[in-house]
Amino acid sequence: MTAPALSTRGLAKRFGSLVVAEDIAIELPAGVRYALIGPNGAGKTTLINLMTGMLRPDAGAIFLGPTDITALAPDERVRRGLVRTYQINSLFPHLTVLEAVTLVVCERRRVAQTWWWQLAAYSQEIDEAYEILNALTLGPVCHRVTRELPYGQQRLLEIALALATKPKVLLLDEPAAGVPREESKDLFAAIAGLSRDITVLFIEHDMDLVFRFASRVIVMVGGRVLVEGTPAEIAADPRVRAVYLGKARHDGALQRNLAGNAP
């Protein structure tokens, strides 16, 4: 039995009297596609912030493979293979698409400290960046300035930046947020096409996409993990139904989807 790709033990965080994470223990086996769902304010993004080191937990530990990474800085975690994307685009507005991804590749390959040799001399890095962009259908726009890209392509670039770090575990915070329904399917198709060496956890509200692309689902409520299981188990779970039924007025679409996908 090998160690899970990513796991947490007793993870807790509070802001004053507000508990945003409590006793979170999860294990992501290597190569699995996980969906993280839950009502607004359940602590999904907070959990990603804790795992990637953007927030310091009050208690608990985080393991990447067998290694305890709880004390590591965010950039050090990325270099070890734990990488995230953002719900709201966090890009480099005035860099071209190719420049942005080349920047990430250069950082990963530890050549970003060189200030004497010119970028054009780093053809391996540039080619790798271009290949990543091509795989995500961004090749034709690689010389466009980031802020001039259409929104849907900016969402793809958000993922391209993460992929250029060669992640072992990829945490996607609502990758299709703000993207029209039709385009979001293409986006998830790109995610589904990722190498099986990469373990993926994604936050998503659209239950259609969750049931189609996740092999397992974690449900969070009020800063705690409510239940974890296969999509079918989650859809049939009375506690999950209670959570979403109780918030039917807010999450009507979600609840409909949940019912519609029950076996």
Binding site: S90, L103, W115, A129
Partner: protein
């Protein structure tokens, strides 16, 4: 065939960015004009070249890494006093003087960079301002060494390469300053087009994202801050060596503020912004102070307000916009 072309294209883009453009070559040829056209103004031309180098050093941290500094004169001053003191106490050889000045300023820059790299925005402005004020008062109180308020007397710069005497008309001073400026400009230009330069632009564009792509931003900032400080130190040393006088103004708050004005006038983040800004500012100051000896800062103020309102990216930003519109039409 088409396939190989498309694979080469990404690299060609980076190559095209590093190529010297005709307008750049024209700019550097124009810097030789004062020798032929304005031989009476070579002293001023030399001061402009020194200020341009100083502004270039600020552009590296402000224009490329987004580090706003209101205390950059500290490094200029450290370099100036290092070269001045070396010369006063018996070693007036100019080239090694530059080396000593860059070393001294670089060490001070490296030491403060550990604090600088932890802050952004307003906090950074206040920190650099604070460091600048501290150094100014230290230099003032150490009168036995720096000459304090009266300035440093007794600087004697030896002949350049043991051969060229620094003359009263500024021929050697301008040639010397211009060559040093050009060499360091080529250095800065290479740096900007290197992988490190790309990372600096990443820091400027999105500081928060950098750790999330595995980039050690703080280490990058420490490196560029040290390089920028060393470069500012060389500019200071050039001033001390070519004028053979030195006062506390050289590291004062006013010089830091003036430098920021110069870079904003020219356009930050464009390498040439500091150079063009220095030319405009120094000539404007020379003219205004001739016409209006008491109130010339008023006109500098008018110039600054006009440029910022009409050309938010400085004179060069405006020119680039104009050129883009022209090529499209």
């Amino acid at each position: 065939m088409a396939l190989t072309q498309s694979l080469d294209a990404p690299k060609l883009y980076f190559q095209s960015r590093t190529r010297w453009r005709p307008v750049e070559i024209a700019f550097w040829l124009a810097t030789l004009l004062p020798f032929a056209l304005f031989p009476d103004y070579l002293i001023l031309a030399s001061q402009i070249a020194i200020t341009a180098l100083f502004a270039l050093s600020l552009d590296l941290i402000l224009g490329y890494a987004g580090i706003v500094s209101l205390g950059h004169a500290a490094f200029f001053g450290v370099g100036a006093y290092a070269a001045g003191l070396l010369s006063k106490y018996g070693w007036g050889e100019p080239i090694t003087g530059l080396g000593a000045a860059s070393l001294a300023a670089g060490i001070v820059g490296y030491a403060t960079s550990f604090v600088i790299c932890r802050f952004r925005h307003l906090a950074l402005i206040m920190l650099t301002l604070g460091f600048g004020l501290m150094l100014e008062e230290l230099a003032n109180s150490a009168g036995w060494l720096t000459g304090g308020f009266d300035g440093l007397q007794g600087i004697d710069t030896w002949k350049l390469f043991g051969h060229f005497e620094f003359d009263l008309y500024g021929y050697v001073a301008y040639a010397y300053s211009l060559v040093v400026l050009f060499i360091l400009f080529v250095f800065a230009r290479r740096l900007i087009h290197s992988p490190f330069g790309l990372s600096l632009r990443g820091i400027r564009e999105n500081y928060v994202r950098m750790p999330a792509i595995g980039a050690p931003s703080r280490a990058h900032i420490r490196t560029i801050y040290t390089i920028s400080a060393a470069m500012a130190g060389i500019a200071g040393a050039l001033l001390a060596q070519t004028t053979e006088t030195l006062s506390l103004d050289s590291l004062g708050f006013e010089r830091s503020a003036e430098l920021l004005v110069i870079l904003v006038l020219g356009g930050a983040g464009r390498l040439y912004g500091g150079l063009v800004g220095a030319v405009i500012y120094m000539i404007a100051r020379d003219r205004f102070s001739g016409i209006e000896p008491q109130y010339w800062y008023f006109w500098i103020g008018v110039l600054l307000v006009t440029v910022v309102m009409v050309l938010p990216n400085g004179v060069l930003g405006g020119l680039a916009k104009l050129a883009a519109r022209w090529s499209r039409a």
